[in-house]
Amino acid sequence: MRPFLAGYRLELRIVRASPDTLIPFFTAPLFTIIFLTIVRHGGRHDLQPDALMAPVLMTLWWFALFQGGNLVTGDRWQGMLEWILATPSSLAVVILGRISAIMTLGSFGFLEVWAIGKLVFGVSIPFEHPFALALTLLVTIFAMAGTAVVFAALFVLTRNSYTFANSASFPFYVLGGVFVPIALLPGWIQPVTKVIFMSWSSDLLRASVRPSPIHDEWGRLGMVLLIGGLSFLFGRFVLRLVLRRMRTSGELATA
């Protein structure tokens, strides 16, 4: 637990010292305005909650992918990676702690989007199933942190991780049904989306802000947890392989 907390605390301190890492909080209101304008202009006021949920997920995913995904690469470039590996702590656990801190901060995007919807358009997030909403956000954050470990492990192999992070964001927005529900995508794509935790999360988030009862709530929450957990384990495995390769090739440090 100490390595996890060490990572968690470190990341909060880094963010405090580097406010530029909070840039998604400046873009989230813009996405909120764009999506709400689209659905309102199209006369689909029933989709306003969907338009509010999308920027929340996008903000969280941005933090996971860009901040979390670049943690190992950043430590490598700063000459830290080797010395962290030479300590008794597991790098994967430290990284998970750091990503969890990032995701905790990212969750404030929910409040921001809610406030923008209310202040600019007078639209509020309808808390039809508040418990389900809170729980879905929680497991979504967990799954994003687990998935970010995979990216953190893979990005360290690339020369320009930001390019890959940028490329990885949009497929996840589509396959995760962030704004457009999976059910509206072409049929042949839909099976692929089942292995993306965000497709379960986004559907569940939308369901939790609608008055109708939530179908199979626990099963869907379980799927998010399962995919997120498996992602973390896979990420830890990939990280171990990547680090072993780098210890062999002598590439843990940059010159």
Partner: protein, 324 residues
């Protein structure tokens, strides 16, 4: 020239390296052998110097012992634990200090950096707090502890590196060019600290190319070059090994006598020096012949001197200058 100095193997070793070889294979380039069959044993409590020029293989050896680099072949252990197979058992026992400015979170304070490191060594909160204060005081950074590392001078960063290396209360310390960037006063304080650490029973492997530092601090010194060990001995013994490279400084010697000396077998060089000439001999016993010639020629201002570790270093490794 290769000297073979017999090394007695101690019973209890903190570091044991057997026939370690490390080859790097850069993309689209020829493989580079950084370590070529290095064997070395460091007993518990010893301060051991690893002396060699840039590119000699010092850092590669330190990285292998720190578990962050895998050897191509051979075995190495720290306090009885294999650095490859039992890396997890090695890591809580070691501390690493590298020279240079990297390896710290610049936007965090010195104290925050140390606290993070303490947590990575799985210390309790109370231990982290106590050790951070003690180490900051020990390296003279208490007054600047809460300022960002990016505002520190190079020497201060180096001292913070040292404190970081000590956070885990390591039994074995690997110091790679630790005084890089320190001013002379800070370097002297650093050396005093190393002496204190030795007094606490820690084993220290000090990789350096600073001969004076190795001579002042180390119980034994290993000379390494091109990935191979040239000799391992105490700095004093190593100096005696090349007593034959003794130098003689003379004043008032004429061209004729200097010419005769230059023609003697075993005289390596006769070169003009401030106020006279410097004669370097390359064989035991030649010094007496040189002195006899000088006295016979009526030269009385003669001074012989013992080799410093620097001279040992230059003679054994060669004067490569900046070439690596």
């Amino acid at each position: 020239m290769m000297l073979r100095v017999t090394e007695s193997r101690p019973v209890e070793s903190a570091v044991d390296v057997q026939e370690i070889r490390r080859v790097f294979t850069p993309r689209k380039r020829e493989p580079v052998t950084a370590l070529d069959g290095v064997s070395l044993t460091i007993p518990v409590g010893e301060v051991h110097g690893l002396l060699g020029p840039n590119g000699a293989g010092k850092t590669t050896l330190v990285k292998i012992l720190s578990t962050v680099l895998l050897p191509t072949s051979g075995k190495a252990s720290v306090l009885g634990h294999d650095v490859v197979e039992e890396a997890r058992a090695v890591r809580p026992q070691i501390g690493i200090v590298f020279g240079g400015e990297r390896g710290l979170y610049w936007r965090l304070s010195g104290r925050q950096n140390l606290e993070y490191w303490g947590a990575l060594y799985k210390l309790s909160r109370a231990e982290i707090r106590e050790r951070t204060e003690r180490l900051l005081d020990r390296v003279g950074l208490t007054d600047r502890a809460d300022e960002r590392v990016e505002t520190y001078s190079r020497g201060m960063k180096q001292r913070l590196h040292l404190a970081r290396g000590l956070m885990g209360d390591a039994k074995v310390l690997f110091l790679d060019e630790p005084t890089t960037g320190m001013d002379p006063l800070a370097a002297r304080e650093f050396r005093a600290l190393i002496t204190e650490l030795r007094g606490e029973g820690r084993t220290i492997l000090l990789a350096t190319h600073d001969m004076a530092e190795a001579e002042a601090l180390c119980d034994r010194v290993t000379l390494i070059d091109h990935g191979a060990i040239i000799a391992t001995e105490s700095p004093r013994t190593l100096g005696r090994v090349i007593l034959r490279f003794q130098r003689i400084d003379v004043e008032g010697a004429g061209e004729e006598v200097l010419g005769r000396i230059a023609g003697l077998a075993g005289v390596e060089s006769v070169a003009p020096a401030e106020g006279g000439a410097r004669i370097e001999v390359a064989e035991t016993g030649v010094t007496a012949d040189v002195l006899k010639l000088l006295v016979d020629a009526g030269v009385t201002s003669v001074r012989t001197s013992l080799p410093s570790l620097e001279e040992v270093y230059v003679h054994l490794i060669g004067d490569r200058g900046l070439r690596v």
